[in-house]
């Protein structure tokens, strides 16, 4: 099922207008999906946290758009748009958030911790920075198999750049000249922690030179800029120019999670250019370029709402997991498993 949705092709394979429109529609769908999760959260229908990509859709969708079927993508917590563009079904998202055993994580893991490794969509572990070296490994495997086409991408935030894992993985990718794109969404905060308490360099882009890799800095609220920068990065990676870094400036237009009112976000950021809503900006762009009028957009929105509501309705009819049917076995080699519960009946 994933297949059918995958492979939208990179920028350039279609006219930029179509690309921009498709990108916008994924942004819209992800916004609608995120809003739905937020309302389900407020209604107490979701176990644990809810993490939104509001304000980061332009960057996220661009990453998903430039990847093709056969590529590898390690999204993070604000990547609903990129996931959809890469081909993640809406149902995967809803089933994982609502804990349906029919979802890819089978209710064992939840919310943003979802993916389909065999489809190239890697499910994040919570530990920030840990996925980048995993993408490296997947790309090395592709190289072993003689696949010279595949590239990879991993998303991280400004805060995650402080982890040792990110440093080791970027350096490793540079040494092996792996075709990976590391997309840094600098949304000014790591949870409540501002950039000033996270790093002291002028820009995170100043890190690229220290790894010997190429880097672009962009306005993360400008869909065109994001699509073009990611497109260039993807082309360079496919052309064998090694790891690519993207540093996008933007603002998280929501709490760290839906539990967080984010009252620590400074007004100066909200009123600055990075504070604008990339979805609205893209919408205005579509209209003034006459690529879509208000009606068309309204139609797209209605379609998205319908898709999301339908998925939620479907999943809400699905039975929850049955603990008594659960095998409680953490390894695939069943014959080496040590019994099914905490008592080790043997």
């Amino acid at each position: 099922m994933l297949q059918t949705v995958l492979n939208h092709g990179a920028v350039g394979e279609s006219t930029f207008r179509e690309t921009y429109q498709r990108a916008y529609r994924y942004m819209l769908l992800s916004r609608v999906l995120d809003d739905k999760f937020a309302s389900l959260y407020r209604a107490g229908k979701i176990h644990g946290g809810v993490f939104l990509g509001r304000g980061q859709e332009a960057l996220s969708v661009s990453t998903g758009m430039v990847l093709r079927k056969g590529d590898v993508f390690a999204p993070l917590i604000r990547d609903a748009a990129g996931r959809l563009a890469f081909g993640e079904p809406v149902l995967d998202a809803v089933r994982t958030y609502l804990g349906s055993p029919l979802g890819p994580m089978r209710a064992r893991d939840g919310n943003v911790h979802r993916g389909r490794p065999k489809e190239g969509l890697l499910p994040m572990i919570s530990h920030l920075g840990a996925m980048i070296s995993v993408v490296n490994g997947a790309l090395l495997a592709r190289r072993f198999s003689g696949d010279t086409e595949a590239i990879g991408a991993a998303s991280i935030g400004d805060g995650a750049t402080s982890t040792g894992a990110v440093h080791e993985a970027l350096n490793q990718a540079a040494i092996e000249k792996l075709p990976t794109i590391v997309v840094i969404a600098n949304n000014q905060y790591a949870y409540s922690t501002p950039n000033e308490r996270q790093f002291a360099c002028r820009s995170l882009a100043d890190r690229a030179m220290g790894y010997g890799i190429e880097c672009q800095s962009i306005d993360g609220t400008d869909l065109e800029a994001c699509l073009k920068a990611l497109g260039r990065a993807a082309d360079s990676a496919r052309a064998g120019r090694g790891p690519q870094m993207i540093v996008a400036n933007l603002l998280r237009l929501c709490g760290h999670g839906e539990h967080d009112d984010a009252n620590y976000v400074l007004a100066k950021h909200k009123s600055s250019p990075i504070g604008r809503d990339c979805l609205k900006a893209a919408e205005e762009e579509l209209q003034c370029r006459n690529w879509a009028d208000a009606n068309t957009i309204a139609g797209w929105r209605a379609e998205s709402v319908q898709k999301v509501e339908q998925a939620v309705a479907t999943v809400q009819r699905e039975a929850g997991p049955d603990p008594f049917k659960e095998t409680w076995c953490a390894i695939s080699s069943k014959h080496l498993s040590e019994g099914m519960d905490g008592e080790f009946k043997s």
């Binding site: 644990g48 894992a165 519960d341």
Partner: protein
């Protein structure tokens, strides 16, 4: 007015900051924001410069704490979740834990780990790590089960000249309440008889103490008098109190929330079997979480960890034998 487990932790830190100028707190989002669980609420403004926001660099967070401890400071480190201490693992077990033995210079660092499963938290925000850290020489591992212990043991932890892994249970943060803060407490290393009984001993710690007490209530209705021992700290582990209880009851069930291979329950049973074999009228039993990552879905999660019901069932088995 009643005080919660998390408020007790906050009060203990406030008092430590107030009474000991050597104390400072370092961790992610603990400054103006007050921490992911609000354990440091208002402390940054009440104690300017002594409650510092850290970058997402757990290894360097602990390393900095050790360096400050060497210089005589009393750092309290807040890990945002116990699960993330795995990326600080080396600094904890090889730097902090070995310093005193190697150099004779003490390392008074307190590392607060928000531990334990809460429904919907999943594999990476639910782990308890006492069984891992207690294996290492040079560490003290506290596992408070009550509001009073959360308060007094955290103050103890800061006072102790050695690295202390302070395992707080997130499930107790907001629900568990006490009328007031304690004025006195058992010394570190002493277990507590949480409930007296003559028919069997259930040894537990942290959140499992409350599940064990519920199970004991349940079994009382069936006429069984269960003694519940709260270990309070798993290293040092108060073998004497456990042994004395088993000497009275002759039966032992040990309950832990961590994974079944090794860990606290294995250690307790191994000690009783080797040092108190003759006290046992029946085979000692153990109950742990299941041997998989901690599930996200509430119904799976509830089946994964020991609960009053599964503890009662295990206890009935022990009583039958």
């Amino acid at each position: 007015m009643p005080i919660t487990y998390i408020e007790a932790i906050r009060e203990a830190q406030a008092r430590a900051l107030a009474e000991d100028p050597r104390v400072f707190i370092y961790g992610q989002d603990i400054g103006a924001f007050g921490g992911a669980f609000k354990a440091t609420k208002n402390l940054a403004s009440d104690y300017p410069g002594r409650v510092m926001d850290a970058p997402i660099s757990e290894d360097a967070i602990i390393g900095l704490g050790v360096g400050a401890a060497i210089e005589g400071r009393r750092p309290i480190i807040e890990m945002q979740f116990a699960d993330f201490s795995t990326v600080a693992f080396n600094q904890i077990v090889n730097q902090a834990a070995t310093l005193f033995w190697r150099t004779n210079v003490p390392c008074p660092i307190t590392i607060r780990l928000p531990c334990g499963g809460t429904s919907g938290s999943g594999p990476f925000h639910s782990q308890t790590m006492e069984s891992i850290y207690a294996h290492y020489p040079g560490l003290i591992v506290m596992t408070p089960a009550t509001v009073e212990d959360a308060y007094s043991m955290l103050l103890e932890a800061v006072a102790i000249d050695d690295p202390v892994i302070f395992c707080e249970h997130k499930l107790l943060y907001y629900h568990l309440k006490a009328d007031k803060l304690p004025s006195e407490a058992l010394p570190t290393g002493k277990a507590r008889i949480a409930r007296e009984g003559r028919d069997m001993t259930i040894v537990a710690y942290s959140a499992m103490v409350h599940e064990a007490l519920l199970a004991a209530d349940d079994l009382a209705t069936e006429g069984a008098q269960i003694e519940v021992v709260d270990l309070r700290s798993v290293k040092p582990l108060d073998t004497d109190t456990v042994m004395a209880s088993v000497a009275r009851t002759g039966r032992l069930l040990c309950v832990g929330e961590s994974w079944p291979w090794g860990g606290v329950t294995a250690e307790v049973i191994a000690r009783v079997a080797s040092e108190g074999f003759g006290l046992l009228d029946a085979p000692p039993q153990r109950l742990n979480a299941k041997d998989t990552p901690i599930p996200y879905h509430p119904s799976l999660w509830a089946a994964h960890r020991p609960t009053a019901r599964s503890i009662a069932a295990a206890a009935r088995n022990v009583l039958r034998k």
